[in-house]
């Protein structure tokens, strides 16, 4: 079995997803969590573009990707904004200390 470009891209997508989830699972810093979320989104973007390339609708795929980027930027901004408030009111960015609500 030869490595077709599509397969390579799929492996890349899965790799990015893995990296992102790894980051989400082990990061203790709130900023790093947001960055890991961004890595996840990049995986999805690569996937979208690859899909468009595969079925010949690359224009549509690009516009979809652009929309995802916009939506995702808003989420990232909000995540960081929450981080700022958390830092201000709780004095920490360590997500392990963000566990008062449990049980």
């Amino acid at each position: 079995m030869t490595l077709s470009p599509l397969l390579i891209i799929m492996i890349g997508v899965i790799g990015l997803l893995g990296a992102g989830f790894y980051g989400l699972l082990v990061s203790r810093n709130l900023i790093k969590i947001v960055v890991a979320l961004q890595v996840l989104v990049k995986a999805a973007l690569v996937g979208l573009i690859a899909a468009g390339n595969y079925n010949g609708q690359i224009n549509l795929a690009q516009s979809l990707a652009l929309t995802v980027i916009i939506a995702d930027t808003i989420v990232a901004v909000m995540g960081i904004a929450l981080g700022v408030q958390i830092r201000r009111h709780m004095g920490t960015l360590d997500v392990r200390e963000l566990s008062k609500l449990k049980g």
């Binding site: 989830f21 989400l24 997500v95 963000l98 008062k100």
Partner: protein
Amino acid sequence: MLKLFLLLTIGLPWLGAACIWLIGDRRPRLLHAFAVAFSAAAGLSALAMLPYASEEIAISLPLGGIFGNFSLVADGLGILIAAIASVIGCLAIIFATDYMKHAHQLARFYALVLFFIGTMSGLGLSGSLLLTFFLWEITAFCSYALISFHNDDPKAVAGGIKALIMTQVGGVGLLAGALLAYAYLGDYAISTFLAQAGTLPPGVLAVIGFSFLLAAAAKSAQVPLHSWLPDAMEAPTPVTALIHAATMVNAGVYLLARFYPAFAEIPGWSTTVMIVGALTALLAGLMAVAAGDIKRVLAYSTISQLGYMVYAVGCGAIFASQFHLLSHAIFKALLFLAAGAIITAIDTRDLQKMGGLGKKMPFVRLAFIIGSLGLVGLPIANGFFSKELILEKGLESGPLALYLVMLAGAGITALYTLRLNWLIFAGEPRGPEPQHDGLPAMRVSLGILALGTLTSWLLAGGLGNMFAGTLPFHHIEAETTLTVAEHIFSAPATWVAMAVILLSGALWFGRAKLAPLGRIFEPILVHDFGFEWLQTQISRLVRGSAALLQHTQTGQVNWNVAGILLGLLAVLILLARGISS
């Protein structure tokens, strides 16, 4: 006319409940008056239905689609239940006007009692499986809310929730049966079910039959689902008399009697019903001998008497079981209300603090003794006729072993009733001086019920006639009261039972010699034969696993993300298995 009375019987108490809730606690006298007025009117309209009894659907309210019709049928069984609920309900409320005189939150009390009365009447009169289940659940709710009426008392709260959960677990049986019936017949009408039960696949019918038995056992506090009833004694006494003696606990027996024609042919069903009834009659009777709280003795006695009714249904003696239901409702309400009068007079339920009360409370003593006559089943009281009828049918059509159990049960009934009377009224006072001999409103209720206990057996002929005419599936033959009485007096079973009762009465007087025996058995009896332990274990298991599960909610954001991956993995595995198969 019938439609009007039907609606009034169910609707008046509900309307009264709403009015009373809206009036609120600020005007207690108005509340008393409203409660008595509404319940009395409901009682009268229930009695007014008697001449109109009919098997036809009287009122049908289409809910549409999968909910079918809510229908009401005023047949013999239904009117009996409705009449008991609203008449005894009215007497309990009259009693309560004195009993609850200084209580707080009266509006909630009366509203719930009235809500219950209307619902219970409706349950009897319902002609649709869905409506039956609907009202069944409401009675469970009312019972729960009234048991824990004194919410500040943790025991009352615990008792209420226990009753709710146990009857609801049984309710799942009724739910399953009703759903199965609808899924196969496409109709909720009870008459359709009775007519077409034979066309159902035998396995399905058997599941329905045993599911209904589960529901009935939970509601009528049959072994092993009985332990909620003694704990329900935390309710105000008028409530106990009404719900936990005269009406709601009968719903299980009513359910079995109502559906008996459909289930009689299921292999093993009748025998199981008989065994449940007999076992309950015996075990609960024994526990009543050991109980030390006046209301708990009566509670166990109620369970035991319900066992008689269930046993009767198992024997196919529908009329006998319902006749005993009527007798029991009257004499047990009397006993509970008299006990309530005693409790208010000396402010304790502990039998060890009573004794010698008869001199100061002659009226209540008389009432209590008349009730006891009914409970033991001595001639002239209604309990005699109905119980002998059951025993006779049992000897005729049930296994001999179970008949002997029931006979022993009759003896034990005599024993604990004698003990109860003795501890309350005989000997020297061991506790506080009684404050009164029944307040005026209490006396009204007690007097009427005592009269009922002595005379209600005269209704045997009329009741049988009504059953025979309006229950086409039950094949009941009408007999006049005179024939029934003649029949009972000439049956040998009656005299055997009388002998057993006298013998066990004698046991009480030889109690000094039996004391060592008592010491051996007392722990078992007080601890409910271990059923209580079993329930505690189940509840502990649930609580324990919930506490363990709590650790999964760590509150860590990393862990939350792991939940997503875990879910994804599980979904992929499940779907991959779907492909390969």
